[in-house]
Assembly symmetry: C2
Homo-oligomer: 259 residues x 2
């Protein structure tokens, strides 16, 4: 292990945007991890060694580690054999971090559905004929959870969240990591949003039922490998879902996503 050597701080040209020492230390560690091609569980040098190598105080090093920890890049354990380890960024954390960005952005339901309408059919098509019977059964079980019409507003909300789970589960099987992430990110936003039902807009049962039937038809198409059919069913489903959502007043992203 050859860390960037002693006194690794280049005497900064005063022109540069001055960054704090912890930030620079974090950058160097990051670069070092990449250069060393360290993998998921690999151990980083301990505090003591870092203090030596960087010639800085414990507190500074610790702040640097917290910077990396917040990004999900390292995890830390105490005790013998403990220390800091390279940690793969979890999907949950990635969603939370990205959610923070949109916290300030006032996304609308229409914004999200513009993208869902483009991406969800793509997922459906790419998964046709690729799911095991067990996977399909899992989807069917989910759909059956909201077979009965919702009685209360709270029940309706739960059903909504369940139906979003359908899409999250579907996305999990995609071998396109970016596509899967985006689907699940949007599902989370929609799950989290606070929905205020319009008083004059009672539960639209037909619209809801139509959405549910779409999902059932979709499972059939997936099972039988009809890719283009799955695509159009999903496209219809999204159109329905959007109408359903826009029949309600929703306030989107008015909170930070819990880690």
């Amino acid at each position: 292990m050859s860390f960037p050597s002693r006194d690794p701080m280049p005497r900064k040209p005063a022109t540069e945007p001055k960054r704090s020492r912890p930030a620079r230390v974090a950058d160097q560690i990051k670069d070092w991890v990449v250069a060393q091609r360290l993998k998921k569980g690999d151990r980083l040098p301990g505090e003591a060694e870092m203090i030596d190598r960087f010639g800085m105080a414990k507190g500074t090093i610790r702040e640097a580690m917290r910077l990396l920890e917040a990004q999900g890049l390292v995890t830390t354990r105490t005790g013998p054999g403990g220390g800091s380890f390279v940690g793969e960024v979890s999907e949950e954390r990635a969603r939370a971090l990205l959610g923070n960005y949109f916290y300030f952005k006032d996304l609308t339901v229409a914004d999200i559905y513009q993208i869902r309408r483009a991406l969800e059919p793509e997922v459906a098509a790419s998964l046709a004929g690729k799911l095991s019977e067990a996977d399909l059964a899992e989807l069917e079980a989910l759909v059956s959870q909201y077979a009965a019409p919702a009685a209360t507003a709270e029940e309706e909300r739960e059903q909504h969240v369940d139906s979003l789970k359908f899409h999250a589960v579907l996305a999990r099987h995609s071998d396109n990591a970016l596509l899967a992430f985006l689907i699940r990110f949007m599902a989370q936003i929609l799950s989290d949003l606070t929905v205020y039902r319009k008083l004059y807009a009672p539960h639209n049962h037909e619209l809801w039922e139509s959405g549910r039937n779409h999902q059932i038809a979709l499972i059939a198409a997936l099972r039988e490998g009809r890719a283009e059919n799955a695509r159009t069913i999903m496209a219809d489903h999204m159109a329905t879902a959007q109408r359903f959502m826009e029949a309600q007043e929703a306030e989107v992203m008015k909170r930070f996503i819990a880690e």
Copy 2:
């Protein structure tokens, strides 16, 4: 300002996954910021006050602030009137943070284009007739930068990056913040990837020229407000670009994105 009051740490049930003190402090501050509906530039209590309120040492508080800083949620300044401030997460940081997640995920060019093919036409259609003549001129200026065929591999790479900039600029005008972010995120990934030209695959001039003509035609369609026309042109353009990229061997996301 009423912070969660003195000794705000609930005596944790030993069952819970023990989080570090800085992490819990960071969570509480985050919750507090949301509860207070603080906005972009608002000032947080100073170190001294936090030390009081939380009853913890300075180092602990500082580590908590670094956790928030890494997420882009606060920035800190020294001096009188200094302190920590609520800071809107920048798009750059959001891209970097999300990029870290995909660092471990081995995205392929095909993965990215599966999504670009779905989203870029959507942007094009939604922008038809909405751009000012100045915006259109900016796009034309970009396209003119790679009018001449590239001589060297390096030149070709620069042209590629420039052509991606075309899409980033386009996305900037979308009023869908999520859509705009995604377009630009993918553009960044593609800009950053290290491209190894296949030795036996010399520059495909026709393919490249075709892509450029698509962009020129697209600008015309945007100017004249032909939304569906813009959509299909962009769809063709993406198909062309994908073929162009796959004619090369590309290693995607093998580094962290610089902050």
